[in-house]
């Protein structure tokens, strides 16, 4: 009944507003009490949302969003809350890519397990900051190639290293979740963790098996499968990758 009521309300609003884009897009988010908010798991690289919807495959909008406070993530437009998206990820400000929009709702990719977890957030509030990101990273594991595009045009391409046969680099549509000046591991000055996780390492070191992009002390990795799932890049490539906004899509095929 609640869903029916919400839908009716949406139609009314659309009729009054006149120019709303997608039917259903004006559905108000389900109210979440303080107690319910406390129960919701945090969407970070340490989280696991086994029931989250998978990446719907929508074409990336080029938009990235930053929550200014913990933001509730829903399983669908007007649906059930499944998580809360914190303002930071491993110390960096949270930015998530938008892969579909319906009115004031945005489908975003999440940094949690399982890979390609997605959810919907209500953007009709000033608690969400939006920005435009024209960059995309394309990775071809078979060819050991990493390419950066800007507005669809290639602006650089490099040969990379990927995961060993037993610890393959997972494929799919990931994104850069943070820019880390790594203080403990010394193989790379900057590490760019992705939203994806290893399918074969449930944990790795003290971490949750997060796949990252980083360089390596020597070039032995170039064109080879030598990592535990991470994407190893040359210094030259890393110098360009660190300039990409957080939330930049990384397509891995």
């Amino acid at each position: 009944m609640a869903a029916v009521a919400a839908t009716s309300l949406a139609f009314l609003t659309v009729a009054c507003g006149g120019e709303e884009e997608a039917a259903g897009g004006d559905v108000a988010p389900v109210a979440v009490s303080q107690e319910d908010l406390t129960k919701l798991p945090d969407a970070t690289t340490y989280g696991d949302l086994p029931n989250a919807a998978k990446d719907s495959g929508g074409e990336s909008t080029g938009k990235v969003l930053h929550p200014k406070k913990d933001l509730v993530v829903y399983n669908e437009v007007g649906g059930e809350p499944i998580a809360k998206l914190p303002t930071t990820q491993v110390g960096s400000p949270t930015w998530v890519p938008v892969i579909a929009e319906k009115g004031e709702w945005a489908e975003i990719l999440l940094p949690t397990r399982p890979n390609a977890a997605s959810g919907w957030i209500h953007t009709g509030t000033d608690e969400v900051e939006a920005a435009q990101n024209d960059f995309v990273v394309n990775i071809n594991r078979d060819d050991f190639k990493l390419e950066i595009t800007e507005n669809g045009e290639s602006i650089g391409s490099w040969t990379i290293g990927t995961g060993k046969k037993e610890y393959p680099t997972p494929k799919g549509r990931a994104y850069i979740i943070a820019s880390i000046e790594e203080t403990v591991n010394d193989y790379s000055p900057i590490v760019l963790p992705l939203s994806f996780h290893s399918d074969s390492h449930e944990t790795f070191g003290g971490g949750p098996g997060t796949v990252g992009i980083h360089t390596w002390p020597d070039d032995s990795f170039v064109g080879k499968e030598t990592s535990d799932g991470c994407i190893r890049v040359t210094k030259e490539a890393l110098d360009e990758l660190v300039k990409l906004p957080l939330g930049t899509i990384v397509n891995i095929v």
Binding site: G91, S179, P189, V211
Partner: protein, 267 residues
């Protein structure tokens, strides 16, 4: 303490080299280093720290998981614990800390308090579906979901230092907030003390004010440096100052500023 600190430094630097050579072998060394660091962390070192669960006395649980920002932003999760003699059961524990920020949480908490005879509860059990403590830029808050001490339901969002009336000689504070000598604030969602001998802290977060947020970086300024030496970056994450989107036009997404942090990715 200095000896322990030096030792932990050495273990830590060893773990770095091992990890560079072979990630998996270094995992336990890195964990060891982290555990040694915890008690050594002094006020002038890590002002931001968090742990999900701790108890001293008859019921003894070392802070778990414990993180501080000695190595920049850090986070730890523990999937499940069942402490000694099955007194405590927790489904998920998390702690994270960074510049001017700390947060800890537990989910599915059940703590058997029956060893504490002085407590005087008819049903000696502390339970909660979820508990969180957050400390952000020197301001603390806490939140409880479906939490009970014995038969006493605990407030979802109690004001700072809210006492709970319990029989016996226990002192129970919700959203306990303590100003520390170094200027940082500690917020503990549930803090129980019994007869001066037993303490139980559920979800604790300590933070100071974040470092000054620098002026907006020039968009053209490359964030990395050129020689692989990363010692000169402020790594400030005091805020996000990227695109300003004052209207329907959104700005360009900001070039990120690398933040000092530690995360073991799959090398």
């Amino acid at each position: 303490m200095p000896g322990l600190f030096l030792l932990s430094r050495r273990v830590n630097s060893l773990s770095k080299r091992r990890l560079a050579a072979c990630g998996v072998a270094a995992a336990s060394a890195a964990l060891t280093a982290g555990m040694l660091f915890a008690p050594a962390a002094s006020a002038d070192e890590a002002q931001n720290s968090a742990f999900a669960l701790s108890a001293t006395g008859l019921i003894k649980i070392d802070p778990v998981p414990y993180v501080d920002d000695t190595n920049g932003a850090a986070e730890k999760s523990v999937a499940e614990i069942g402490a000694e003699q099955q007194l405590a059961h927790v489904e998920l524990l998390n702690a994270r800390a960074g510049d001017g920020f700390a947060k800890s949480s537990v989910a599915g908490l059940s703590l058997d308090l029956s060893p504490l005879a002085d407590l005087g509860l008819s049903k000696p059990l502390l339970s909660a579906e979820a508990v969180e403590a957050t400390c952000d830029n020197g301001v603390g808050s806490s939140s409880l979901a479906n939490a009970k001490l014995g038969d006493i339901p605990l407030d979802v969002a109690a004001p700072p230092n809210t006492g709970v009336e319990v029989p016996g000689v226990a002192s129970v504070l919700l959203n306990k907030q303590t100003q520390n000598d170094d200027g940082s604030l500690t917020v503990t969602a549930i803090s129980i003390e019994v007869n001066g001998l037993q303490t139980i802290d559920i979800a604790s977060a300590t933070c100071a004010e974040a470092a000054e947020v620098p002026e907006k970086p020039e968009p053209t300024d490359p964030p990395g440096d050129d020689n692989g030496d990363n010692g000169d970056n402020d790594g400030d994450n005091g805020g996000n100052d990227g695109g300003d989107n004052g209207g329907s036009q959104v700005g360009a997404a900001p070039v990120p500023t690398p933040v000092k942090a530690h995360l073991d990715v799959t090398g």
